[in-house]
Subunit: 329 residues, 2 copies
């Protein structure tokens, strides 16, 4: 039995970001933390067979990507902490984890990007880029007048870390912000704060809907046909949260019918989009391939956060970014 | 002979904005100026035959669109003032006008839009929208990391009314601004101000080139192959000035070769783009059909500005927005 902390890093071979978590890169970042290397034992796996062998000893598991850990208690008897390298934790079944296993995530690692991408997408919608990109595809030139964005209304659905960053972007553009959250509690950056039960009512006056929600049992399909139908035809939709929160088929139908002005979607229910997906060519729909919040420094920043948390763990201090496994975020 | 001021409004039947200057709309705006209606006689024409008949009496001509006025002195002996309803005055041959004819333009009418559209285009380039739109056309999903825009460098070519608005947008995004003008005189919003002779040198360190120049004999093709070749491959190009200022063929070649990251072009040497133009499908080139600076209130604002100038003219006060016909802006 080792006197060091056993940390295992599993990178899901099918996950797009796994290549950015190369073993050497992890070791390089660990090297920045003086003295930490001698207090831990780091092991790596890149497929489930190797993972299974490693789980017997691991006390801490870093998970890059998806994992079905149904029988984790049997397979990893010493496991006490799983760190997930994204903000969304929907790629593992939290409800099947033993109660004594802590879960942490990468919340807050996306805020600079969330602010800049929200500002980009809001300006794109207001400046008719969805129309222009569609017209360009059709080789059609139609000059279009544009109203100033100043004073328009954005409904931000989800007022957590991403929603707060989006609200900051919106205030910089001088938008009126209606923030929707589970509680409906007042938020410093929202002009109006409402609970989810009043979403449809808020959407009736929206110029933009900006979705930042994580995927949980409660948020799946929260923006469906009825919610989209409540929006005025001048409005546009942005999703930087998780794909299944929004009924994209219903959205596409309204876009094709000119019942909504445009959409900028960074996430989809199935990613990557299949080559034959209808959404590649939906009118006034712009696809940004799950890139809006993904910056070049994401992985090193993510690893630095993790190792700082490992120091807290070793020193019996409380971990940062604990996930409430019953809420799912 | 009338004791009122003869004002004639000619709307070029081939000009895209002419429909927005409908006779009744002009009269409605005139109605907002108390007492002015009785001091002027307003006439309208929508083709050259009707225009020719009206020119004999007109002292003031509002020109919406293009006009070849080579023999204007003979055709319009009483003409003293031409007002052009755009900021660029390249649609009429200024050098063939009699010296006693004043020219005014719509400078300053574009500033709110110029600021918002510059911000939009800069953010789109930084957020890889040109790549994403190209990938969408190819039904290809490739997640891409994005660096923050903060602290990057924009070269703004042309520091007049549009350039100043663009510089304001850039400073709001925390960019470093290199302003290029004929004189190279210091500009309050530029971190560095340089004369046109140092353009290539400035471009070597640019993340973005934003062109706002009017079209004159001096500015035609000012951004050509050599200037584009001076830019780093990470850089992107925006044109909100006039199309012929930029060699689009040379730009397209570099975009196709991956030697520049992207472009957002609002203007082209020939507009509208022909259905068989290669620029509809150039990699990483986004076309916004001369719409970036065109807002819904443009025409009423433009007419209000004109009638206020008419009051100045009647009261022998100096006109605003005089164009220097030797410089061409």
């Amino acid at each position: 039995m080792s006197t060091t902390l056993d940390i295992h890093i599993y990178t899901d071979p099918d996950f797009r970001q796994s290549k950015d978590f190369a073993d050497q890169r992890v070791l390089d970042i660990l090297g920045e933390f003086e003295g930490l290397g001698s207090r831990i034992t780091l092991s790596f796996s890149h497929d489930e067979t190797a993972l299974n062998a490693a789980l017997a000893d691991a006390e801490v598991l870093i998970l890059v990507g998806k994992l079905d850990i149904a029988d984790v208690a049997a397979r990893a008897p010493r496991l006490r902490w799983i760190h997930i390298t994204s903000a969304g934790v929907d790629r593992i079944p939290l409800d099947r984890l033993p109660a004594e296993v802590l879960v942490t995530n990468a919340k807050g690692n996306h805020e600079v990007r969330a602010r800049e991408f929200s500002m980009t997408a809001l300006l794109m919608l207001n400046n008719r880029l969805p129309d222009f990109v569609t017209q360009q595809r059709e080789k059609h030139w139609a000059q279009t007048a544009i109203e100033p964005i100043d004073g328009k209304t954005v409904v931000i659905l989800g007022m957590g870390a991403l929603g707060s960053a989006a609200a900051e972007a919106a205030k910089r553009l001088n938008l009126r912000v209606i923030g929707i959250s589970r509680s409906g509690r007042d938020h410093a950056l929202a002009d109006v704060s409402l609970p989810q039960s009043r979403l449809k009512e808020a959407l009736a006056g929206a110029d933009f809907l900006l979705i930042t929600l994580p995927l949980t049992a409660d948020t799946r399909d929260i923006v469906g046909e009825a919610e989209l139908a409540a929006m005025p035809a001048r409005a546009g939709v942005i999703n930087i949260g998780r794909g299944p929160v929004l009924d994209v088929a219903a959205l596409a139908k309204r876009l094709e019918a000119g019942q909504l002005r445009g959409a900028v979607l960074d996430v989809f229910p199935e990613e990557p989009l299949a080559a034959d997906s209808p959404y590649w060519t939906t009118r006034n729909l712009i696809v940004t391939p799950h890139s809006g919040l993904y910056d070049a420094d994401y992985v090193p920043r993510c690893l630095r956060f993790f190792f700082a948390n490992v120091e807290r763990y070793l020193d019996d201090r409380p971990l940062e970014n604990r996930v409430d496994t019953s809420l799912g975020y």
